[in-house]
C-alpha cells in the first residue's frame, strides 16, 4: 500500500511537473542571487553605488544641434543627464519615424515595380533589392557618411538644390524653418476640428449609403474642409507663421563665410546618413514583403471582381489591397521594429541618438553602467512590447472570419 502510493506520486505527471518547475525556479533564484551578489561585491570593490541620483546632475558635454536639443533646449553644463536621456529618445524616434515613412513609400514602390509586366522595371527592382539587402547596414551607413556626404563642398561653399531655399554642404542640409508666432495655435485647433468633422461625416455617409444606397462625395468634402477650414483660420488670424530662410554669406571675413547660424533649419549630415541608410536598406525588405503579400492573393479574386463588373482601380482598392494587407502588415510591423532597433547603429557615426549619447558619452562620464544600460534597454523594450500589443490587436481584427 505504502509502496504503491509512493509510486503513484512519482508517476503523477502533474506532480512531477510541479517538482520540475520548483526546481527550475530554485535554479533561477540561485543564479540571480549569484549574479546580484557578484555585482554588489564588484561595485563595492570599485567604490560605486547604485542609484538614479545622477540623472539630476548637469551634463558637461556638447551635443550637435538636432531635434532633441531643440525640443529640450539643451545647454552644456545646465541641462541634466535626464535631459540627455530624453534628447536621445527624441532623436532616435525622429530618425525612426522619418526612416519608416521613407522606407514604406520606397518599399511599396519597389515591391510593386518588382511585379511589373515590364522587364526593365521588374529587373531594376530586383537588382535594387538583391544589392541592398545583401550588404550589411553598417557598411551602407559608413558609405553614405564617410564616402558620399564627406565629399560634399566645404563649409564655405554649397550646392543649391532649390536656389536660396534648400542647399547642402558638408555641415548638413539647409532648409527653411517655420517661425511660429502667437495665434498659430488657432490654425492647429481648426485643423484638428476639421479632422474630427471628417471622421463623423465619414461614418454618417457610410451609414446613409448602407440604408439608402446614395453615395456622398466624402473625399472631396473632407479635403475642402481640412484645407479650407485650416487656411481660413490661418488667414483670419493674420497669417501667424513665417519662413526663416537659411542665410549664406559669400563675402566678408573668411571665417564668417558660409551658412549663418540662427537662420533656417539644418539637418546634420549624421542624421541624413542614418536616414538614407535605414530607408534604402529597410525598403529592400519591405519590397519583398509587399511582393509576397500581393502574390498571396489568389488570382481568382481578381477574376471574380472583374466578372461582377468592377473596374481595375476598384478591384485593387476593394479586393486585392485589403486581402494583401492581411499578409503584409505583420512582417511589415516587424520591419518597422527592426528599423527602430537598427537606428542604434547611428552610434558608429556619432549621430546623437539614445545609444550614442546616453550609453556612450554620458556613460563614460558618469560610469553608472547598470542603471544606464537598463534605462536604455527599457526604451527599446517598451517600443517592442507596444508593437507586439498592436500586432495582437491587429491580427485579432483582420483574422479571417470562417464559416
Amino acid at each position: 500500500m505504502q509502496q504503491s502510493s509512493l509510486k503513484s506520486i512519482i508517476y503523477d505527471a502533474r506532480l512531477r511537473g510541479y517538482f520540475y518547475q520548483v526546481f527550475i525556479l530554485g535554479c533561477l533564484a540561485f543564479g540571480l542571487w549569484w549574479l546580484i551578489d557578484n555585482t554588489v561585491t564588484n561595485l563595492a570593490d570599485r567604490g560605486k553605488t547604485v542609484g538614479f541620483g545622477f540623472l539630476t546632475e548637469n551634463a558637461g558635454f556638447q551635443i550637435s544641434s538636432t531635434l532633441g536639443t531643440w525640443l529640450f533646449d539643451y545647454k552644456v553644463g545646465q541641462s541634466s543627464y535626464l535631459d540627455v536621456y530624453f534628447i536621445g529618445i527624441a532623436n532616435t524616434f525622429l530618425v525612426a519615424v522619418l526612416g519608416i515613412a521613407g522606407a514604406t513609400v520606397l518599399g511599396f514602390t519597389v515591391g510593386i515595380m518588382r511585379l511589373s509586366k515590364n522587364f526593365i522595371i521588374r529587373s531594376f527592382a530586383t537588382v535594387y533589392i538583391e544589392l541592398l539587402r545583401n550588404i550589411p547596414l553598417l557598411l551602407q551607413l559608413f558609405f553614405w557618411y564617410f564616402a558620399v556626404l564627406r565629399a560634399l563642398p566645404s563649409k564655405r561653399d554649397k550646392i543649391e538644390i532649390i536656389p536660396d531655399v534648400v542647399a547642402m554642404n558638408i555641415t548638413g542640409l539647409y532648409l527653411p524653418a517655420p517661425v511660429i508666432e502667437p495665434g498659430f495655435i488657432y490654425s492647429v485647433i481648426a485643423f484638428v476640428i476639421a479632422i474630427i468633422i471628417t471622421l463623423v461625416m465619414k461614418s454618417w455617409a457610410q451609414k446613409r449609403q448602407f440604408e439608402t444606397g446614395q453615395r456622398f462625395p466624402v473625399l472631396w468634402t473632407a479635403l475642402g474642409l481640412i484645407i479650407g477650414l485650416t487656411m481660413l483660420t490661418f488667414w483670419i488670424t493674420g497669417s501667424p507663421m513665417n519662413w526663416s530662410y537659411p542665410e549664406f554669406k559669400m563675402t566678408g571675413a573668411i571665417l564668417r563665410r558660409g551658412f549663418q547660424s540662427g537662420s533656417g533649419m539644418v539637418l546634420v549630415p549624421e542624421m541624413l546618413a542614418v536616414w538614407l541608410a535605414l530607408t534604402l536598406y529597410t525598403a529592400a525588405f519591405i519590397a519583398e514583403i509587399v511582393r509576397a503579400g500581393i502574390l498571396a492573393v489568389a488570382k481568382g479574386q481578381t477574376e471574380a471582381a472583374y466578372s461582377i463588373g468592377m473596374r481595375p482601380g476598384m478591384t485593387l482598392r476593394l479586393i486585392i489591397i485589403p486581402q494583401a494587407l492581411r499578409v503584409i502588415i505583420p512582417p511589415l510591423t516587424s520591419q518597422y521594429l527592426n528599423l527602430t532597433k537598427n537606428s542604434s547603429l547611428a552610434v558608429a557615426i556619432a549621430y546623437p541618438e539614445l545609444v550614442s549619447i546616453f550609453a556612450g558619452t554620458a556613460l563614460n562620464q558618469v560610469g553608472k553602467e547598470i542603471e544606464m544600460i537598463f534605462m536604455m534597454m527599457m526604451v527599446y523594450l517598451t517600443f517592442s512590447v507596444a508593437t507586439a500589443a498592436f500586432m495582437n490587436w491587429f491580427n485579432a481584427r483582420v483574422k479571417l472570419v470562417e464559416r
Binding site: T39, T41, F119, I120, I135, P136, L138, L139, E369
Partner: protein, 461 residues
C-alpha cells in the same frame, strides 16, 4: 459514295509561324517591354503608356549611368599597381601633388592590396597564417561535403563539422595549450563515469523506482561532464604551436568566427528555448518567452554594449574574459532568441497526429522530440535558419563598434592610415568589403531559395 464538298479542304492547312507578338525575341520584347507602353486608344491609356515610356527610359538611363560609373571607377579609371612604392601619391591628381589628371575619380587598388592581409586576418602573425588557411580549407571541404547531395557519409561529415571541427579550428587558431590541470580533468571524468554508472544501475531498476525515473538525467549530466572535460583536456595539450591571442585576430577571420560560433551555438540553444516556450509547464514557458522576447526586443548593439560593460560586473572578481569572448556570448544569446522563433515556426507546422502517433507508440517526451518532431520541424525551417544566418553574418559588423576589428572594423582602421590618405580611399575599401559581403550573403540566399524549392517539391504529393 460521298460527294466531295467544295468548301472542305483536301490537304492540311499550312503550319503558320506563331504571331510575332508571341514567340522569339520580338515576342519576348513585345510582351515584356512594349506591350505595356503602346496603348494609345483612350486618354487614360495614353497617359499610362507615356508614363511607362518615360519611367522605363529613366530607369534604363539610371542603370546604365550607375553601372558605367561603377565600371569606370572600379576598372577603367582605377589605379591597379604601385610599382615604385609611392603609396598615397600613386592615387593623387596633379593638383594634389601626384601624376593623375585633375578630376580623376577611380579606385585606388594598391591601397587594398597593401591592406589585404590586414583586412582578411588582422594582425595575425604572418608566419602562422598557414593555420588559418588549414582551418579554412578543412572547414570549406567539410561544409561542401555536408551540404552537397549524392556524396557518401554526408550525415557523419555534418556531425563531425559540428563537433570535432570547432575544436580543431580552436586549437589551430589559438594554438591550444591552455592552462588546465590534468588531475582536475581526470577527477571530473571519474565523476562523470560514476554518474553514468549510477544512471545505468537506476535504469536497470537496481536502485528503486525513484532512480529509475531520474536515471536519464544522471546519464545526461554524466555524459555532459565527460564531454566538457575531454574538450578541456584536448585544448590543454601542448601541440607545440605558437599561441596567438584573440587580440591578434582580425578582419574576415573575426567575421567568420563570430558568425559561425553564433550559428553553431544558437541552434541547440534555440531548440531548447523553442521547446521550452511550447512547454505545458507554465513556469518553463513563461521564462522562455521572457528570455526570447527580451533579446528580440533590444538592438544587437545594446547587447554588445551590455556584454562589454556589464558582464565583468556580473562575474566574480578575477574571472576575466577577453573582448572577443564577451562579444561572442552576446551574439550567441541574441541569435539563440531569433533561432528559437524560427524553430518554433517549424514546431507549429508539425501535425498534431505526429505527436499522438508517437505517444501511442509509447515514446517519451524526449524520444518523441528527438526521433519524430524535431527532424521534421528542422527540415521545414532550413530556409529560415539560413536566413537567420545571413542576418547574423551581416550583423557581425556591429562588433566593430565595441572595438573588435572584424572585416569592416579593419577597413575603418585602414582608412585612418595617413600613408594611404587619398580622397578615394574610403570608397575603394567600402567597395572591396561590400563585394566580399555580397558574395557571401548572396550565395547563402541562393542556397536558401534552392532549399525552399527542393523542400516544397518533396512535400508535394
Amino acid at each position: 459514295m460521298t460527294t466531295p464538298h467544295k468548301y472542305v479542304r483536301t490537304e492540311d492547312a499550312p503550319l503558320l509561324p506563331p504571331p510575332a507578338t508571341e514567340a522569339g525575341i520580338t515576342g519576348w520584347l513585345w510582351q515584356n517591354i512594349f506591350a505595356s507602353m503602346s496603348d494609345f486608344q483612350s486618354l487614360g491609356a495614353a497617359i499610362r503608356s507615356l508614363f511607362m515610356i518615360l519611367f522605363s527610359l529613366l530607369l534604363v538611363y539610371l542603370f546604365i549611368d550607375q553601372t558605367y560609373g561603377l565600371i569606370d571607377f572600379a576598372i577603367l579609371s582605377a589605379v591597379w599597381s604601385d610599382p615604385e612604392g609611392l603609396k598615397r601619391e600613386v592615387c593623387w591628381t596633379v593638383q594634389q601633388g601626384g601624376s593623375l589628371p585633375d578630376g580623376w575619380h577611380g579606385a585606388c587598388w594598391p591601397f587594398v592590396w597593401a591592406k589585404q592581409k590586414f583586412a582578411w586576418f588582422g594582425p595575425y602573425p604572418s608566419e602562422e597564417l598557414w593555420r588559418i588557411y588549414l582551418s579554412l580549407i578543412v572547414g570549406s571541404i567539410g561544409l561542401v561535403w555536408a551540404l552537397r547531395e549524392r556524396l557518401p557519409y554526408r550525415r557523419q561529415v555534418g556531425v563531425l563539422m559540428l563537433t570535432l571541427y570547432p575544436l580543431l579550428a580552436f586549437i589551430l587558431l589559438t594554438g591550444g595549450n591552455s592552462d588546465a590541470s590534468f588531475t582536475g580533468i581526470g577527477v571530473w571524468i571519474i565523476v562523470g563515469l560514476a554518474l553514468i554508472s549510477v544512471g545505468r544501475m537506476g535504469a536497470a531498476g537496481h536502485l528503486g523506482t525513484i532512480f529509475a525515473e531520474l536515471a536519464g538525467i544522471f546519464g545526461i549530466v554524466g555524459w555532459g561532464i565527460i564531454a566538457l572535460n575531454v574538450v578541456r583536456g584536448i585544448v590543454a595539450v601542448d601541440f607545440n604551436l605558437t599561441p596567438v591571442g584573440t587580440g591578434d585576430w582580425g578582419g574576415l577571420l573575426i567575421t567568420l568566427v563570430v558568425a559561425l560560433t553564433g550559428i553553431v551555438a544558437s541552434l541547440p540553444l534555440g531548440i531548447i528555448l523553442a521547446l521550452g516556450r511550447r512547454s505545458e509547464m507554465p513556469v518553463v514557458s513563461v521564462l522562455c518567452t521572457i528570455f526570447i522576447e527580451f533579446w528580440r526586443g533590444v538592438p544587437l548593439i545594446t547587447v554588445l554594449f551590455m556584454a562589454s560593460v556589464m558582464l565583468p560586473l556580473f562575474l566574480p572578481a578575477g574571472v576575466n574574459f577577453d573582448n572577443l569572448l564577451r562579444a561572442l556570448i552576446g551574439v550567441m544569446l541574441f541569435s539563440a532568441a531569433y533561432m528559437a522563433e524560427v524553430v518554433r515556426g517549424g514546431l507549429q507546422a508539425i501535425d498534431k497526429g505526429q505527436y499522438e502517433g508517437a505517444q501511442a507508440m509509447g515514446l517519451s517526451y524526449w524520444q518523441t522530440m528527438r526521433l519524430i518532431v524535431l527532424p521534421q520541424a528542422l527540415t521545414h525551417v532550413i530556409p529560415g535558419i539560413v536566413n537567420t544566418f545571413i542576418g547574423l553574418f551581416k550583423d557581425t559588423t556591429l562588433v566593430s563598434i565595441v572595438g573588435i576589428f572584424d572585416l569592416l572594423g579593419a577597413g575603418q582602421s585602414a582608412i585612418a592610415d595617413a600613408a594611404w590618405s587619398t580622397p578615394v580611399q574610403a570608397i575603394t575599401i567600402y567597395l572591396y568589403i561590400g563585394i566580399i559581403f555580397f558574395i557571401f550573403c548572396f550565395g547563402m540566399s541562393r542556397y536558401s531559395i534552392f532549399m525552399e524549392n527542393k523542400l516544397s517539391k518533396s512535400r508535394r504529393h
